[in-house]
Amino acid sequence: MPHFNLTASVDYFFNFFLMKGVLVTIGLTVAGVVGGLILGMGIALMRMSSNPVLSGFARFYIWFFRGTPLLIQLVVIYSGLPQLGIKFDVITCALVGLILNEAAYLAEIVRSGFMAVSAGQREAAWALSLSRWVTFRRITLPQAFRLMIPPLGNSINSLLKATSLASVISVEEIMRRSDMLMQEHFQILEVYAAATAYYLILTSLWDVVQRRLEKHFGRSSATRSRRANATAPSPQAGLEARA
């Protein structure tokens, strides 16, 4: 007889054992984003470098990590590398895999952001004798970052869900702990409904954060769309110049 025990599902949702798994998922995601962004920025800079060795390495890196499944990467790091005498604990394995993989995607996002900033912006900065660092920090980076936020948001959403793959190498995040609960109580739908709810809550929270970021960094582009109505003062200024 078909049945779904809602009370049991709510109980699983408030189960401390599963909640600790949620914290692990959040931790993996945050570490993956931070590590991935730092490494990805480095890979992007190498990819844009005029040095053929650096850009070649970056190309290879991106090709390799985007061209193979994260699942295989995790399994190789966890079970394969010990064969070569390289051994990490399970959390480190998951972090290394997630960061290496995420960096490849973020590198391309970072690079496309920088490439979308027009050359004229850099030229104007040089003409004003701004140093390379100031040009990067004050002119190129803020404009590139604004363009990166939407694809970055998508990538972080994917990463959050991809952390579930770490369950395969026995990291006890949401998925793994759900499996464990399920094997203990055989209430399949009840357990996975609770897990699903957690993923939805986390991705929704991230959506809110992403929208805030876009609003904050998009302040000047938001005003640009209002341009047509907002140029009222120009005729007056024009007349003055003509006088």
Binding site: A124, S129, Q143, R224, A241, R242
Partner: protein, 259 residues
């Protein structure tokens, strides 16, 4: 076609160091020769208008002066400083020159005022207050002090270009380079930008302008430099250039643009 260098006019006055001196400058893009043996001397205070058909190397010429483009051969001196690969020389030359671009190139994520104070603060080490004073001085001069808190996207094209001029002036350059400053503007906004440039010329600024505004050239220029296929074909006072162009190429060019 012989390169006709009118040395009489480009010669530095009273033994001054010329503002710009180019000797046998070449610039290549792959197989294409963008600048072909350019010799040019600009005295301090002189106003030069560079004209010629598109692709003749006008923009490349002025972009080489402040090292936005790197020349491949020949010598360039700006106020006596040689433009070579040394960072300190490039920086010194860029501090002496201001540039205004066809597409304005204002920083869209900063307000008008922030656009103007960034370089004075980070390059010249001014305090925010000092930089603001200077910025407001020049924004007043280009007649848009009331737009200081607006973002470039909220301004008209003419206003944006005037902000760009003010931003360049805030670094107190000795030479101003204009790269087709009115080409991207709606017709009714051309005048306000040209008026601003005329005012600057009257104050004695050394100016090199790439422009198709022949009215401006006639009125303001001390000398017209006519380019074709990367070469300086002729240079003369506006009177002479417009009434008696020496080269066939300049005659055809003038026929086409003056209708």
């Amino acid at each position: 076609m012989a390169t006709d260098i009118d040395d009489g006019q480009g010669q530095p006055r009273k033994g001054e160091v010329p503002a710009v001196r180019m000797e046998a400058v070449y610039k290549y893009y792959g197989d294409f020769t963008a600048l072909d043996e350019i010799d040019l001397k600009v005295a301090s205070g002189e106003k030069i208008v560079i004209c010629g058909p598109s692709g003749s190397g006008k923009s490349t010429l002025i972009r080489c002066i402040n090292h936005i483009e790197k020349h491949d051969q020949g010598l360039i001196y700006v106020n006596g400083t040689e433009l070579d690969d040394q960072r300190k020389n490039i920086d010194a030359i860029r501090r002496d020159t201001g540039m205004v671009f066809q597409s304005f190139n204002l920083f869209p994520h900063m307000t008008t005022l922030e656009n103007c104070i960034l370089a004075p603060m980070t390059v010249n080490g001014m305090t925010k207050e000092e930089a603001k004073d200077i910025a407001m001085h020049f924004l007043t001069k280009v007649r848009i002090p009331e737009q200081a808190e607006k973002f470039p996207g909220q301004l008209s094209g003419g206003q944006q270009q005037r902000v760009a001029i003010a931003r360049a002036l805030c670094m107190r350059p000795k030479i101003m380079l204009f790269d087709e400053p009115t080409s991207a503007l709606d017709p009714e906004m051309v005048k306000e930008v040209l008026e601003t440039m005329k005012k600057l010329a009257e104050e004695g600024m050394t100016m090199l302008c790439v422009t198709h505004e022949m009215g401006f050239a006639r009125e303001v220029a001390d000398r017209i430099v006519f380019m074709n296929e990367g070469k300086i074909v002729e240079q003369a006072a506006p009177q002479n250039f417009f009434n008696h162009p020496a080269s066939e190429r300049a005659r055809t060019f003038l026929d086409q643009i003056l209708h």
